[in-house]
């Protein structure tokens, strides 16, 4: 008969089941977080002392005070007696005004140049390459100052250039004929946007049906009805006038029409041309990433050139194009903050003025960060959604 030899008790470990690795990990984390907290605490306590020494109360109460700063050119109505909060909103409006239009124009221009770089025409592809190389290798701020100097060197309003009838280019900026938009006109435009959304849904349904039974269903009658006829009916019913307002020179300045101030115009040109050079490279590499077999197969099917580009090449190229394009859009938006160098009042410029006037440094910077993080996240969110939509659906 054997008896079980008494087992030695398990070796006691200092921290129960924790091994050396876990302990090391814990040690490093505590160390790094501790250092980070210590640094932040040090900076924070210094800031608090400094602020109290300067008699600045922290907090966002200053936003309700009268701003008293002039804003020359803005999307929203503003006068210096408005609050800091409203000045900030006006600044955000100005940033978005340049960023959104800049993104649209840069995408169009960049795509054209990217395609030109792949052209069979030697001259065109060389010119596109020179455009890309030159603009990419010169700092944006330098280009911006350059455009602004050119704007200021334009003739005065009385001797303005008129490239086309009704369009004036002078040191007052670019003046275009425009349709004044009142609430009635906005209602009609709103209907058109709504019609577009409904059309999009209808078209999706039609395509789904075609997928099921193979019968093509034309979508254009719906487009005509929803996007053209519906707003037109609204317009007639409400009796909206769409009279174009032509700018006129009166005295030393222009009256009527739409004015793009020189600062805005210079910023827009600089951002669009600079970003388009990067977008051109993205589009070029996207198109080149489509394997040659796809071109050959489309040719072999006898597809028309435009159909081939739209239905075969572009959908595949877009998968490569969209992710880097997102970061270019983000860059353009962030670069719009260079506006401060030429005096276009975007959100950074207004925050900077606020900071100088009130001394509320932390709050002003926090607001800038909040605005840009919100814009960045919205762009990323939209582009991720779009990217998921066009992504390859594997079987």
């Amino acid at each position: 008969m054997t008896t079980d030899a008494p087992r030695p008790p398990p070796r006691r470990r200092l921290f129960g089941a924790w091994g050396r690795r876990e302990l090391q990990g814990l040690f490093w984390q505590v160390l790094v977080v501790g250092i980070a907290l210590a640094v932040i605490g040090f900076l924070w306590s210094n800031t608090v002392t400094n602020l109290s020494a300067r008699r600045i109360t922290t907090g966002f109460a200053f936003l309700g005070r009268e701003a008293g700063m002039p804003i020359a050119d803005s999307l929203f109505a503003y006068n210096p007696r408005d609050t800091y909060l409203w000045a900030f909103v006006v600044g955000v409006g100005n940033t978005l005004r340049v960023a959104v239009i800049g993104i649209v124009l840069a995408t169009i221009l960049g795509t054209l140049i990217g395609i030109s770089r792949l052209s069979a025409n030697w001259l065109l592809s060389r010119l596109a390459a020179v455009y890309v190389e030159t603009l990419r290798d010169i700092p944006l701020l330098l280009q911006l100052l350059f455009w602004y100097v050119l704007m200021q060197a334009l003739p005065a309003a009385r001797a303005a250039w008129r490239p086309i009838e009704g369009v004036f280019l002078s040191n007052r900026g670019l003046i275009l004929p425009a349709v004044p938009l009142g609430p009635l006109q906005l209602w009609v435009l709103g209907t058109a946007v709504l019609g577009f959304v409904v059309f999009y849904l209808v078209r999706r349904r039609l395509i789904a049906q075609q997928m099921r039974d193979g019968k093509p269903r034309p979508a254009w009658p719906f487009a005509l009805a929803l996007i053209v006829a519906l707003p037109a009916m609204m317009s007639v019913l409400l009796g909206v006038s769409w009279k174009v307002e032509w700018p006129e020179l009166r005295g030393f300045n222009f009256v009527g029409g739409l004015t793009l101030a020189p600062e805005y115009f210079a910023l827009l040109i600089a951002l669009v041309t600079y970003t388009s050079a990067f977008i051109a490279e993205i589009v070029r590499s996207g198109i080149q990433s489509v394997p040659r077999g796809q071109w050959d197969a489309a040719n072999a099917l006898g597809l028309r050139r435009s159909f081939m580009l739209r239905q075969i090449i572009l959908p595949q190229a877009l998968r490569v194009i969209v992710p880097p394009m997102t970061s270019q859009y983000l860059n353009l938006t962030k670069n719009s903050s260079l506006a401060v160098a030429i005096g276009y009042q975007d959100v950074v410029s207004i925050a900077n003025t606020t900071l100088n006037q009130t001394g509320q440094a932390i709050e002003a910077i926090a607001l800038i960060m909040a605005v840009f993080l919100t814009i960045s996240l919205s762009i990323s969110f939209f582009m991720n959604w779009y990217n998921a939509r066009i992504a390859l659906v594997e079987r």
Binding site: G25, L51, L123, I138, A361, I362, S376
Partner: protein, 368 residues
């Protein structure tokens, strides 16, 4: 819309019979392959010829190249018709070196040459060894001695008198030299298994990348004094340099993270099997491979923040762009900013173009 060349790697000549004059053949395939293409070529040629002609007229034929010192009357006479290149010989010392003492300007000039030599040596593949780090430390120390002086019989020059091209190169190079190790640490932190370290790294990278550099620079110039104990303050240039290092660190971290992800899992496992510690594993096995993967994007990042250093203009630091802008405040020369901007743009272009050529060369050879 133009026709897209089917594929750049197809030899074009192969698609057409090889007969006739080679020049005519080249013209036919590359400029006049079809009627719309031919029309396009003619239009482009006309526009290009017109552009080159009017630029040559303004920039060469009617230009004023030299004037007696500090006399811009010849330039004023040619204004609107010809360029005033005379402003460059008049102002180049100020544009390149700012307010650095005039007789000592050989020192920043030598520093610029040292920077160029340093960049050139760093591109040599044969020198990609540990000694390169020593070379960098040595060169940067030598440049500091040259710029500051105060030893070896060199007169001391305080950094608020520095300006121009050396400042641009200092901001970019020191940004890289300190941002790179920071970027490596943050990239490792972002891939670490330890949640606290990972989230700190993510927070840092996303916060910095989410806001424009301009706001970071404002923060450095306005808020830094608030953060520090009363009475303690550091120079404006150094504060901007810190902002650029933090900025560079976040962007470099993302590039290096891409490289870390490209290292196969087996490499990590093999290093673990050898019983290497975390740091030795990364230093000896993972990082050398990861960084080799991402050298082209690293060069591109460097180009990007070489250009971005020009933003310090906004907080009033005398880099190359600021000295250029200041040079044309002089009332006599005020109207000739376009010429100065073209000159400075050419300097930036030479640096960036050389780097982008190099990066493209690396991309082409790394696949082999």
């Amino acid at each position: 819309m133009t026709v897209i060349a089917d594929s750049p790697d197809t030899p074009r000549a192969a698609r057409r019979p090889q007969i006739g004059n080679p020049v005519l053949r080249w013209l036919r395939t590359n400029l006049f392959s079809s009627i719309p293409n031919g029309i396009l070529s003619v239009v482009l040629l006309a526009v290009l010829a017109k552009g080159i002609f009017s630029f040559a007229q303004w920039g060469i034929a009617n230009a004023v190249w030299l004037t007696p010192a500090n006399d811009s009357s010849a330039c004023r006479a040619a204004r609107g018709v010809g360029a005033c290149w005379a402003i460059i010989p008049e102002k180049y010392r100020f544009i390149l070196f700012g307010t650095y003492p005039f007789d000592e300007q050989w020192r920043p000039a030598l520093s610029v040459l040292l920077f160029i030599a340093l960049f050139y040596l760093s591109t040599r593949r044969a020198l990609w060894r540990r000694e390169l780090v020593l070379l960098w430390i040595g060169a940067l120390a030598l440049i500091s001695v040259l710029m500051w002086g105060g030893v070896f019989g060199l007169a001391f020059v305080s950094q608020d008198r520095w300006g121009g091209l050396p400042v641009t190169l200092i901001l970019a190079t020191f940004g890289l030299a300190f941002g790179f190790p920071l970027g490596i640490l943050v990239a490792l932190g972002r891939r670490s298994k330890l949640p606290a370290i990972r989230s700190l790294s993510v927070l840092y990278v996303e916060l910095i990348r989410g806001v424009p550099l301009v706001s970071l620079l404002f923060m450095a110039s306005v808020m830094f004094p608030l953060f520090m104990p009363a009475g303690f303050n550091i120079d404006k240039l150094l504060r901007a340099q810190i902002a650029i290092i933090l900025f560079a660190g976040a962007y470099l971290a993302e590039v290096i993270r891409g490289g870390l992800q490209a290292v196969p899992r087996g490499q990590y496992e093999a290093a673990d099997a050898l019983g290497l510690s975390y740091w030795r594993k990364n230093r000896l096995i993972v990082l050398p491979q990861a960084i080799r993967h991402v050298i082209p994007p690293l060069v591109n990042t460097f180009i990007a923040f070489f250009k971005d250093t020009s933003l310090v203009l906004i907080i009033g630091i005398f880099d190359l762009l600021t000295t250029a802008k200041t040079a044309i405040i002089d009332p006599a020369w005020q109207q000739f900013s376009v010429e100065v901007y073209i000159f400075v743009a050419a300097i930036y272009f030479v640096f960036c173009f050389a780097m982008s050529r190099y990066s493209r060369g690396l991309e082409a050879t790394s696949g082999r």
